[in-house]
């Protein structure tokens, strides 16, 4: 560990300028804060957090739609726990549940499928939020529901994919990223090759990283070495889990059920081809079509800075709501709610500097 830190120190001197490295994945953000490794980095190496927390980048109008759904008679909304506390325009799933709405926390899409079988008179809507990591499991649930001709299961889909979002970030001149710490879990599914275009087109080095503190430090070392040597390649620090081409079976399942679509990212806006929509063939499991869901324009607190935080251009500490009134107990923006949100990480682990 000491050698790693020393290498990072030496390499950062060789690079000889301030370096901005983005960890795209929320789990990396949390690992970096929880292990305290940020304090071990030289002052000229800046870790910025990217849009890799799925809850955080979900458009608020999606939450309003989910909140509307859970109050409809005959509907049960099934969701991962992270989403229940995220505020929509004027409520949250947690508050609606307290007021009597049907909101169930599940730990996997297949639990939602089981729920649908147990409650044949209800329409069970699973909130499909997440990246390539979770998409295959949702694809499987839809595929299985289709095979079994289940009529009361559907998905409100807001799934997103990583590469296009990273592309949009690179093109955003306000950010100036020198290197990407690429998401390990996403890469298990997709393979490390999906980041190649970033190196080739923009000359920005990428390292796929594991989630232990030493994984992240090693990845930082690899990135700095590439910068010092003037290289821009995809390197795979997480080769114990990630291969070049990923999990072919999971990719086939994803492609069977989903197709690319344009989608809005909170804080970044519409990114062409960065979302996943349920294919026409599986339209009977698309909550938007089955239940006629509308996405009215949502209202968010204009002072909330989550958008800039998600693009890596602002620190949570720059936000005037940070800490008071926005805190994990009373979150205003999504980055304060999610277990992987950047604001929550700052609040929980580094408030002392604030």
């Amino acid at each position: 560990m000491k050698t790693l830190v020393q290498n990072i120190e030496a390499l950062s001197q060789r690079v000889g300028r301030d370096v901005k490295l983005m960890e795209v994945c929320g789990t990396h953000t949390m690992a970096a804060f929880r292990s305290g490794l940020r304090q071990l980095l030289p002052g000229c190496v800046h870790l910025v957090s990217g849009p890799g927390c799925p809850v955080c980048v979900t458009d608020p109008s999606y939450l309003d739609a989910a909140i509307d759904l859970c109050g409809r008679p005959g509907v049960i909304v099934a969701t991962f726990g992270d989403l229940v506390r995220v505020p929509g325009t004027d409520s949250s799933l947690e508050r609606e549940r307290a007021a009597g709405a049907s909101v169930r926390i599940v730990y996997s899409p297949s639990d939602a499928l089981i729920l649908a079988r147990e409650c044949p008179s209800k329409q069970v809507v699973f909130l499909g939020v997440g990246f390539e990591t979770t998409v295959p499991t949702v694809a499987w649930a839809i595929w299985r529901a289709a095979r079994d001709d289940l009529k009361n299961f559907s998905v409100l889909c807001a799934h997103k994919t990583m590469p296009r979002a990273m592309d949009a970030l690179v093109r955003d001149k306000a950010i100036n990223i020198d290197g990407f710490i690429c998401p390990g879990h996403v890469s298990v599914i997709t393979g490390a090759h999906i980041y190649r275009f970033i190196c080739e087109r923009y000359r920005i080095p990428c390292v796929v990283s594991g989630f232990e503190a030493w994984d992240i430090l090693k990845s930082i070392e690899l990135l700095l070495r590439q910068l010092a040597e003037g290289r821009a390649q995809v390197e795979n620090e997480y080769s114990r889990s990630v291969s070049e081409h990923g999990n072919a079976a999971a990719q086939r399942l994803m492609n069977e059920v989903f197709e690319p679509c344009d989608t809005a990212w909170r804080g970044i806006g519409m990114i062409e081809g960065s979302g996943l929509a349920i294919r026409e063939q599986y339209a009977g499991f698309d909550a938007v079509k089955v239940l006629g869901v509308q996405f009215p324009k949502a209202h968010v607190n204009p002072l909330c800075n989550c958008g800039s935080v998600l693009r890596g251009v602002a620190s949570p500490l720059d936000c005037q709501l940070f800490g008071r009134p926005c805190s994990p107990a009373h979150p205003i923006g999504p980055c304060m709610v999610s277990g992987e949100g950047v604001c929550a990480a700052y609040y929980k682990y580094e408030r002392i500097a604030a």
Binding site: M1, G26, T27, F33, R34, S35, G36, L37, R38, Q39, L40, P54, V55, F80, G81, D82, L83, V84, R85, P87, D90, S91, S92, E94, R95, R97, A98, A99, R104, I105, V106, Y107, D111, V129, G130, F131, T133, T134, H185, A213, W214, L217, P328, A329, S338, G339, E340, Y347, K348, Y349, E350, R351, I352
Partner: protein, 336 residues
């Protein structure tokens, strides 16, 4: 935003619970005996000191690996007395039963209460029974209140901790919460972890008998070690530093927590005690603890400093430092 209803998170033992207690209860019902918000109230009757406490048990499922709601109801309440330095003497026992509960299930729980009471040396001296319609509670809920006699002339309490004190824990962290979650519908996973649910009074008595200067004790239940330490840091206006490399967290608990996206430090324990001890007395307190079956894994996990006041910090294995925060409430599983 509307904030006009009770949320599940208000019951999580974290910052929302505290807000509810301070905002809704203390403002109207506060008095000098209630105000310290310790595990028990400290009473004086006939020149003698007593500790008085109450707790309700709604655990789901009501039988879990390593225990059940009956054992929990006796341990939880007597432990709240023990950590104030009081020998548990008398308990009340109130049942809220759901229509349709199997009598055989109830009998098993009563048996479990009987054996736990015997381990603790406490007597059940009064009780109550209510039955509610099917669906109005899940099987059964139990409330117990307990009265204990203070055995130490030193007053223990969350506000008495001083810079320089050592923080000791008697064993593995997070087992109760993980054991219960492993059997919960929708989460169920295979694990050999069993609840640590145990009466702490025999261990506490051993510690007090050494004559070591003990400032405070806490049983880190809901909200886990994190919530208990945050409470104490705040009440005593001191800083507390833990060392990650010595924290007794098993691979299994760590693995289950990673899977569920939870922090072992926020997971409930039911047979653990955090002991704040004067630094010069640590050796004898620790030696006595290690002699006891519930204290074999006892160790110092941190120390108290003057600053940062009211905060708990963790020195991480790689040499960084981070805050250990008061958990907010209901712990949420992660999404990816």
């Amino acid at each position: 935003m509307r904030r006009d209803r009770i949320l599940l998170a208000h019951g999580g033992g974290g910052s929302l619970t505290r807000e509810l207690i301070e905002g809704s209860f203390l403002t109207q019902l506060g008095n000098p005996l209630l105000k310290p918000l310790d595990d028990s109230a400290m009473l004086v009757m006939g020149g003698k000191g007593y500790a008085f406490t109450t707790d309700s048990y709604v655990v789901k499922p009501y039988v879990f690996p390593g225990g059940d709601i009956g054992r929990l109801a006796v341990c939880g309440t007597t432990n709240d007395l023990a950590v104030m330095g009081a020998q548990p003497l008398w308990l009340s026992l109130s049942f809220i039963l759901e229509e349709g509960l199997l009598l055989a299930d109830l009998q098993k729980i009563v048996e479990s209460i009987r054996t736990t009471v015997a381990e603790t040396g406490v007597q059940i001296v009064t009780g109550d029974t209510k039955v509610v319609e099917r669906g109005k509670c899940e099987g059964l809920y139990i409330n117990t209140a307990g009265l204990g006699r203070l055995v130490t002339p030193d007053r223990l309490g969350a506000a008495n901790v001083k810079p320089g004190d050592a923080v000791i824990i008697n064993g593995w962290i997070g087992e109760h919460g993980v054991a219960v979650m492993s059997r919960r519908e929708g989460v169920a996973f295979q694990t050999s972890i069993v609840s640590d649910c145990a009466p702490l009074w025999p261990l506490v008595k051993t510690i007090l008998n050494t004559g070591a200067q003990i400032r405070a004790m806490r049983d880190p239940t809901r909200g886990g070690v994190a919530a208990a330490l945050c409470d104490i840091a705040r009440a005593s206006n001191v800083g507390i530093r833990l060392h990650e490399e010595v924290l007794p967290i098993s691979r299994e608990v760590r693995g289950a927590c990673d899977l569920l996206g939870l922090d072992p430090l926020t997971i409930a324990n039911e047979g653990k005690v955090l002991v704040f001890c004067r630094a010069t007395d640590v050796a004898r307190a620790l030696a006595a603890m290690k002699e006891h079956p519930l204290g074999r894994e006892a160790r110092v996990i941190g120390e108290v400093s003057e600053k940062p006041r009211g905060m708990v910090l963790l020195r991480t294995v790689i040499g960084g430092e981070r805050i250990i925060d008061m958990p907010t409430g209901e712990d949420l599983p992660r999404i990816c």
